[in-house]
Amino acid sequence: MPDFEIKDLRVSVEGREILKGVSLAVNKGEVHAVMGPNGSGKSTLSHTLMGHPNYKVVGGQVLFKGKDVLTLPTEQRAKLGMFLALQYPVVVPGITMSNFLRTAINAKRGFDGKDKSKAISVKEFRALLKNEMSVLRMDDSFLSRYVNEGFSGGEKKRAEILQMAVLKPEMAILDETDSGLDIDSIKFVSDAVNKMRGPELGVLIITHYTRVLKFIKPDYVHVLVNGEFVRSGGAELADWLEAKGYSEWVKEPAKAPAALEAK
């Protein structure tokens, strides 16, 4: 049985069916890429897996550690070891990154505000962050800033990966983590993700473009179009998409950025 399994998942948003029965199995140690054109249901998939309230599950199951996570509230999915790096990380004024990270780490450790022995110590917290932040080329000033407030696009995405690094999930979903990033940020983010790869982590990278897959090599690639998987394969499928785009399935400019570059 796979470690993480999506079975015939159907999801609707505002009464319209977006995911029309998708199935996917991810084992720890594997990196899967889900690729698709705009409007194919990529974000719906990532948000549904994490339990965002705007997405209504119409059918199917998502099995992880013997549980159907679709029946669990978001916080428990996270506790179970799931993590979602958002495409558009939310600005949360008034809460510092430091407070946010510490509370999340403590929640994972089962600290309920009472048994202080379960809470992370200041020293341990510093040490943990210092290491991860250097990989992501983030300086200490991030910690005293409000969550994502005034962060550049690249800083936001790096902050997402920092959260992943300190929370150590077993199943990570990276939703368009590469979008809007300059090439340096893509490198830092990819380095950090590659460092985390290993037998204890399954990764689902959701992306429109193949660029990030040059830095994080996927084991499997799945193409999502109109709420259904239309093709699956190995890393070579990404190269094929790089050349052909999604034109086989949808009418869109085959390679929008490349076409622009040609001019």
């Binding site: 994490m50 339990g51 965002h52 309230p53 509230p73 978001t74 916080e75 999915r77 996270a78 506790k79 993590f83 979602l84 958002l86 990380p89 939310v90 949360v92 004024p93 008034g94 809460i95 407070n99 946010f100 509370t103 999340a104 929640a107 994972k108 505000g113 409000y146 969550v147 959260q163 929370l167």
Partner: protein
Amino acid sequence: MAFTKAAVEELSALHGEPEWLRARRLDAFGVFEGMSLPDTRRNEDWKQVDLKALNLEAYAAFQQPNGLAPAGTLENVGATLRQRGTSPAVASIAPDLARRGVILMPLAAAASAYPELVQRYLFSAVKPERDKFAALHAALFSGGSFLYVPDGVTVEQPLVSQFWSGGPGAAVLPHSLVVAGKGSRFQFVDQFLSSDRQEATLASGSSEVFLEEGAEVGYVALQHWSVKTWQFANQRFHLGRDARLRMVDVALGAHLARLRVEAILEGPGSSADMKGLFFGTGEQAFDFRTLQDHVGPHTTSDLLFKGALRDQAKSVYVGVVRVEAAARGSSSNQANRNLLLSEKAKATSEPILEILNNDILRCSHGATVGPVDPEHLFYLESRGIPHPVAERMLVQGFLGEVLDRIPVPLVRDAVEQELAARIE
């Protein structure tokens, strides 16, 4: 009737006040007698205020002296004034401040000790004719403080006044008079507290603050009356040339807490930063009326009132930005943000702009009313933070922006604890 001329005379005698002040009180009492309660249907300034359950007859004119302020000391403050009801005050001031001419004393005592100063400023900003409650306050004010910082004096540590009501059934009307000399710099914390969380009183912690040329003043008013208190308070700030005001209002108590806050930017180049913080529970109602009055040229004001409401609590915010004819090159911002933590909590917000000079740099306003942002909740919960913790963090974060502006850590911590208890 509880409020009589004899009561005014009795109170004035109790405080041993000079004749001029007794005469002023009696004049104000005449105004009070000549006015009726505000018409909450026709009077624009009182619309949305529910006075039906208010019975003025139920209150004694003032509290008899009945005990001293609770014991306790604040650290790292320049001076404190602690009072309870009409009892004598406990005051302490750093010797070095006293030597430099800084005065912090009960207002009634100041009327005798510094008659010229007090006579010149008292009720020149908040006039008794304003409404029946302002007239009552001017006739029967009792307790409160007089703070004077001479020209050019900088006070590093905050100055603190703490006033406790002395028990139920009476009018509790402390008044603060603050005069900031030219180029003076200081922070003043003005606390209005109930000795008993359930006592029924009619209260107003009102203040008049005068900033002379180049003065830089921080003013924090903390209102924490009992939940059975009716409060009708006025704060008015007059700013001279290049004066800078940074003020924070914290409203936690009262059944109905009405507060009028007015910054009059008369001096060219003066600026006012105005923050408000409130948290309503149960059936509390808040009513804020703010005025940013740009009289002089190149004046700046920035206002942010933020609050959270749960249970059936309500708030009304009406904010006027006025740019007068001479106020060219002025800049103004006004924002009111309301967080609703229950289905029955309710907030309304109304900005009013009166622009008489179009040669202004900026005039912006915004209001929001709504629950905790579900996207924020999702984000925190997706990191494994349990729902109640996430909600508490978000409310604290929302209020933190204003909370962090309270300069005395002990006071800030007390407010933070009270807020935390209300969030639970």
